[in-house]
Symmetry: C2
């Protein structure tokens, strides 16, 4: 139970003032080389480590980033955080993570806690589309950089790192149309802007190609949990005049749809085309592999972090990252005489070594 050594202890040892020690330890030029060296040597020997809490109080800089997401253990957010943490670490910053579990009141609470902890920046993906931003305003007042990621507010100014959900959904839907699917359904979640945008992109594509928008094959739930996804997929696939393709707003729902279709004896992609969104790991594991929109979560995290850390002028900037349609077996109808879709399996290795 050794008590920590402080600059005062070191100062006493050399009969100098704490200020001299503080300066010597960081190589300030106003301290002689001899003193600097002997103090640093002594500090190393005694295992001195600065008390960064004290330093934080004095300098009013915590070198800490707050990150707020709904669930850490969703692949997208896990990768986002991984990217943020990597960049933060390079800059000597810590990362505090909070989950909102998609509840607005929890979001308010954790955001306030981060505010009290004097984080030097905050990156947030909103829980719920809301009109109350009081908990976020305070950061602006204190001039703390605030960056929204993925689920951004429409009615609040600030830096945003996003993808073009409308355009991506448009491309995904267009792909299905070009593959010859005629009745393309959509499964989505309610209440969040990104899903609204994906829905709009889907509808725009149908419109462009003169296909009807049939509300009976568009279904949604407050959250796309496994249970909800399965229930919705079952409803769509078992109804009369069922869709011949599904564009799901997230991969997990698309995968569940594929699994259900196979269970029902439907062939994917011949009887049912499926496209997802995210390019989660599961998308290249399901059979047939899932056509999906790839967005770069690690990169989004890195960019968001860079942005928070380099926040010189706080103009509201919106950074839109490119997505990519990854075409795999689930949406490309097989030609005659080609009985498997393996030729379409697009193997992709992530740029990051995920080996355990």
């Amino acid at each position: 139970m050794s008590t920590d050594i402080t600059i005062y202890d070191i100062a006493k040892n050399f009969n100098v003032s704490p200020s001299t020690v503080s300066r010597a330890l960081k190589g300030h030029k106003s301290i002689s080389k001899k003193r600097t060296q002997e103090i640093q040597a002594y500090a190393r020997e005694k295992g001195f480590q600065v008390n960064s809490v004290a330093a934080k109080l004095r300098t009013q800089k915590t070198h800490t980033l707050g990150v707020v997401v709904t669930w850490i253990n969703q692949p997208f957010f896990a990768s986002l955080i991984s990217g943020i943490e990597s960049v933060a670490q390079e800059h000597g910053f810590h990362v505090i993570i909070s989950q909102t579990h998609d509840q607005h009141d929890l979001e308010v609470q954790v955001v306030n806690n981060l505010f009290n902890s004097r984080v030097d920046g905050i990156i947030i993906s909103l829980a719920i589309e809301t009109e109350s931003f009081a908990h976020l305003e305070q950061f602006k007042n204190r001039n703390v950089p605030l960056v929204f990621v993925d689920r951004v507010p429409s009615a609040f100014k600030g830096d945003k790192v996003i993808i073009d959900n409308f355009q991506s959904a448009f491309i995904a839907t267009e792909h299905l149309i070009k593959q010859g699917y005629k009745r393309i359904g959509h499964i989505t979640a309610t209440g969040k802007l990104i899903f609204k945008q994906r829905l709009d992109g889907y509808k725009a594509a149908l419109n462009k190609y003169g296909l009807d928008i049939d509300e009976s094959i568009i279904a949604s739930a407050p959250s796309l949990s496994e249970e909800n996804s399965l229930a919705i997929a079952r409803k769509l696939l078992t109804q009369e005049n069922r869709p011949d393709a599904i564009f799901a707003a997230i991969d997990s729902t698309a995968v569940i749809t594929i699994q259900l279709a196979k269970e029902m004896g439907l062939n994917v992609p011949n009887d049912l085309g499926v496209v997802g969104f995210n390019n989660d790991p599961i998308s290249s594991v399901v059979d047939p592999q899932l056509t999906t929109i790839s967005q770069p979560p690690v990169l989004m995290g890195k960019i968001a972090a860079e942005h928070v850390l380099n926040n010189k002028e706080h103009m509201s900037e919106v950074i839109t990252l490119d997505t990519e349609l990854i075409v795999r077996g689930s949406s490309v109808r097989l030609t005659e005489g080609n009985s498997n879709g393996k030729d379409l399996s697009s193997k992709q290795f992530s740029s990051q070594d995920m080996g355990q």
Copy 2:
């Protein structure tokens, strides 16, 4: 750019001392009801929030937990962290996350940073099995609770939350043996204790049932990245006298093995049985679904967090959580006349709502 309001500002307003304000704000009984109420009301009105950095310095408690993992964006760790954060939040604690990217020197660095930040507890899954624990000793010296999770050191005392890797691997291997597989290979990683234990469990099962241990069908790499896994799987499956089953030390490797086998025209499970480890989301998505060992990462995180937070007496306690063999299609040979394995598909919903 409003500057923050402090207890001194409030004190001035009421012509009382800061100590009175401080006490009033937390309802200390030595302050009269009237004062307490008016001060609290005023504080609320002015949007006062305690500067927790100052409080931390004074009280020497940061109410912060440090978490160190190799990669945040591995499903196991993402869930682990999610569990930790949930519990921490309930207790009013923050969680700082750091990644080591499996590098020992990075681990030393981030651990030291957490130490300097005066975290009130630390939960760590080691990067590399090592003999140097100086960076961890300091926590003991300062009496900071330290809990190891998953990848724990063999040569360092401390609380540990783990699963029985040996026993789990034994059960997994035994399952393959009982299914009638005769040449069971193993794919694993080198240099980490948990993998050594799984290897030992595998060998013990073979021994018990009188099967040879054939080093030519046991293969490993420093890390089980996708590239490495694929290379190893290919080597095993293409060699003469190839194994008729593979027990892979992690799910992602098992999935890659299944995909490769299918590409090679092998039927899983008839020509090749496969068992994985972790019960990652991909395991129930691959076709056939993967038999695997389920360990409870969210629960592990919660228990580790509870343990750190309630650290009364610091005796070294080892908590071993149960695992479960989840039998799915990849390891159960089909009976005649049963042309699909769907009857074996074991649908499982995680206890946590993962809907986006």
